[in-house]
């Protein structure tokens, strides 16, 4: 069984490819329709952020287990400019691109675990997990 799959984000169409992969993986892992929508939406937000702010990067989707719990982990990574003010991007309504500013805080609410590592000039990696309850 392939436990890890990934999509390179280079064009706008890759955003669609990433979320379709995410939906399929979520379905295969046994998530219900609401969690499938949460995971798909989270991937869409993360993939669009890569496309908008870093130009290119990668979405990896992986099955994870922890103490008998099963889940899906999404790793969104890029080698873009990094996030200068992490606290600001986690505020609802903050956007530098004319968007709704819902992406980052939204993903955190949609998923169970959420971690950002960002270094100015070096890139950003966001790791987020949803557990099967």
């Amino acid at each position: 069984m392939d436990l890890r799959s990934s999509v390179e984000i280079i064009t706008e169409w890759d955003i669609v490819a990433a979320r379709q992969l995410g939906r399929n993986e979520a379905k295969k892992a046994g998530f219900g329709t609401v969690d499938q929508a949460r995971i798909t939406t989270a991937i869409s937000e993360l993939a669009r952020n890569i496309y908008l702010y870093a130009g290119k990067g990668k979405i990896e989707i992986e099955r994870v287990t922890d103490n008998g719990k099963f889940g899906i982990k999404i790793i969104a990574s890029d080698e873009g400019p990094g996030i200068p003010d992490l606290r600001k991007v986690m505020e609802d309504g903050f956007s530098t691109s004319g968007g709704l500013g819902a992406g980052m805080p939204g993903v955190k609410r949609l998923m169970d675990e959420f971690k950002v590592v960002s270094e100015t000039g070096a890139g950003t990696t966001i790791t987020t997990t949803k557990w099967l309850h």
Binding site: V16, T41, R48, G99, A102
Partner: protein
């Protein structure tokens, strides 16, 4: 490339059924097509049915919200119909409030609501 979203005219109302997952380009094209069609047909109302849509991210939500505001500027009313439970839950968790938007469970209720609003 995806095809354009068809916009149907029924008397003074335009009906749109979004049948597949929207990519960014299709969403933006739809925005333009709808406003042009409204202008050409002098439509008074629009029903946008989202029944087959199983997720909406913040970009699509923004395009939809903008379409609704733009349609309002042109003097028409919009009803959004068929939002699935999973879509409603994720939109709110994402922090998106489509406030001041008329909604209805399905196309039939949406048309009823729109006609009542237009008569008022």
């Amino acid at each position: 490339m995806n095809a354009r979203i068809p916009i149907l005219k029924l008397n003074e109302v335009l009906i749109v059924s979004i049948q597949w997952e929207l990519d960014d380009q299709t969403a933006i094209q739809f925005q333009e097509d709808l406003l042009n069609k409204m202008h050409k047909t002098a439509a008074l109302g629009v029903v946008i049915d989202l029944t087959p849509i199983d997720f909406i991210d913040s970009f699509i939500a923004k395009v939809l919200g903008d379409v609704i505001n733009m349609t309002g500027l042109m003097g028409a009313k919009v009803v959004i119909t068929g939002i699935q439970p999973a879509v409603a839950i994720t939109l709110i968790e994402l922090g998106i409030r489509l406030s001041n938007v008329m909604t209805a469970l399905d196309l039939e209720n949406g048309l009823d609501k729109l006609y009542k609003e237009l008569e008022a």
